[in-house]
């Protein structure tokens, strides 16, 4: 029997206020399992502001600081500086932000944190829209997805623009470590976070966090949707360590992207040719990733 490598200790308590099937809750749960209790988390306005449970309670067994939506990168720098100045050793500082709070309004402070070399981990949990405010499109929403600000109807086919490539943006800062993760592959994610914990300098995670109400699928299918994102090559699992790319889950025969799309109501309106265009885009992106991997080997 295979040995389970997921730590048993829970630092996210039951009783949190996430929706059923929430990928963002799982992302926090696994990240904290990998990091352990000597961790401080700073969280911007996002679903996690609410998931963390309101005053005077907290869902986490580690300290949590709230910060405004665009300032997570600065908050981690401040926390790190304070710990260093006060001689507090052995603590990991984590910024835990949503996709809008990272790729849109928070991009500047993330860039600042990466550039100034803050010794901390930044986790972007990606549910691909402003979910906490009611499913508005973000720079991380994939093309053709329905959101409340990219409605489908008339000539509109959902979001026109492609998803912003945050990993490329982060990699351009040459951080010590950056990786993608997926809540449907907790062992891969936990292994990467544990690896990152042992490093120092700025470290970044792009974690796919499927969202039942926002992506319009039934709550019990979160893991299935998440697995398909990776097994179709749409959301490949890889890491970038000192500019070297390495795919951590290799799928020789990827499933068709249509399998992933058809589970989600946000893609219900897609025509055959639109599905085909997304399939092509996924394949092209994956080829570029393979090229990056072999070029940096």
């Amino acid at each position: 029997m295979a040995k389970l490598t997921i730590p048993a200790e829970e630092l996210l308590r039951s009783g949190h206020s996430a929706c059923p099937g929430c990928g963002a809750a799982l992302a926090m749960r696994y990240v904290l399992k990998a990091l352990g209790p000597e961790t401080i988390v700073t969280v911007p306005a996002s679903c996690w502001t609410v998931i963390g449970t309101p005053y005077p309670t907290t869902a986490l067994d580690v300290p949590m600081l709230d910060n405004p939506i665009e300032a997570t990168g600065a908050s981690v720098s401040g926390l790190r500086a304070a710990l260093d100045a006060l001689g507090q050793k052995g603590l990991t500082v984590v910024g835990f932000a949503g996709d809008g709070g990272t790729v849109d309004i928070g991009l500047q402070s993330l860039s600042g944190m990466l550039e100034r070399g803050t010794d901390a981990i930044y986790v972007m949990y990606d549910n691909e829209a402003y979910m906490n405010t009611g499913i508005q499109r973000s720079g991380s929403t994939p093309s053709l997805a329905w959101t409340t600000t990219t409605p489908v109807g008339g000539a509109s086919r959902g979001k026109l623009e492609p998803k912003k490539d945050i990993m490329a943006i982060v990699a351009a800062h040459h951080p010590v470590y950056a990786a993608t993760g997926n809540i449907a592959f907790p062992e891969d994610l936990i292994k990467k976070v544990a690896k990152a914990k042992a490093l120092s300098g700025p470290r970044f995670f792009h974690v796919l966090a499927p969202c039942p109400p926002g992506w319009r699928y039934d709550a019990e299918r979160t893991i299935e949707v998440g697995r398909l994102a990776t097994d179709t090559h749409l959301f490949p699992l890889y890491e970038v360590e000192n500019d070297r790319y390495r795919i951590t889950r290799r799928i020789e025969r990827p499933k068709p992207v249509a399998d992933y799309l058809r589970l989600q109501g946000r893609f219900d309106h897609l025509r055959v040719e639109e599905v085909a265009s997304l399939q092509e885009a996924v394949e092209a992106r994956y080829r570029r990733l393979l090229a990056l991997e072999s070029a940096s080997a």
Partner: protein, 398 residues
Amino acid sequence: MAREVLSGDYAQSYAAKLARVDVVAAYPITPQTSIVEKLADLVVTGALRAQYIKVESEHSALQACVSASALGARAYTATSSQGLLLMHELLHWASGMRTPVVMGVANRAVAAPWSIDVDHADSMSQRDTGWIQFYAESNQEVLDTVLAAFRLSEDEAVRLPSMVAMDAFYLTHTVEPVDVPEQADVDRFLPPRSKVGTLDPHRPTRLGSFTSPEHYTEFRHAVASASKAAAQLAPTVEEEYARIVGRDLGGPLPRYLTDDADAILVTMGTATTTARSTVDALRAEGRKVGLAKLRRFRPFPSEEVRALGRTGARIGVLDRSFTYGAAGAAATEVMAALYAASPRPLVRSFVAGLGGRDITPALVRSLYRHLLEEEGPEVVWADLKVPPGEATAEALHG
């Protein structure tokens, strides 16, 4: 005590050093830049053992300070004008999180149009953010006030941030002799920060949090109470400073020749020096005029203003900023404080010195004349060049 020749900017830097700040996070903006350059030097040479965070914006500067302060670090930043406006959101966070950050503000005009010169619109726009606000008249006062601000802000009953504002160029870039206190004296005056209200890195608590209508009001009221506590505690802090360092800070509204005055001008910052010399000149001519310096704008010294009102003098308030649709920002506060006074003195709002326009002795004389001889309108733009009604777009842009 060593006497050194310092600019207002350097007075800020040396005060931060004497306060033994743990964390500095700052972004450059004219005319604040030499504060953070000097601090960078002090950190690099080892004269100040602090973490210096090179942030990518003022917004991030204050966020970094708030987060550092939340963990119990003593944090300092400095900014000016647009930078302070960009920080606005974080100003509310700092007071709401009860993080006693101290910030130097080089008071400078805000755009549009661009101006890099003195004006108080930047800090006056932050009136309602829960910050304690001081305005300095001299570089000596800058240094002393920064130290006193740390002590007041960090008091367990207060735990509110402070800004110490100084006029752009008149103070930031003008050097004058400043008595720099001994480190041992400052250490006695300003002990290390208490851990009360800070985030314990080993205890699972949440700071900031999310509230329902069940709790939000009480959080806001706690800030209001802390602000009141700051006003009550300030005299003790100043007495301690005088006892240990040997300089009297003068309270929130130091008065000059007001007891028998027929007209009193309330000033802030460097305009006070000009006004004081004008008071001397007018007194020599037999005019009974006086002066009150508004050193602390928040918490507002309403009691002290009411005491000023009891002199029976007419009161003019000179503002280097304007609250559109109303009057000068300090003037509206003075009027509000005096509303219940009986008899209620005549109060005039004088707006002058915007965007670096000189406040001259001749101008100050005209303000006293206005108070002594005229009823006049309630709000007077005292140094306006284009007569009212003729400020056409052509005149402004031509």
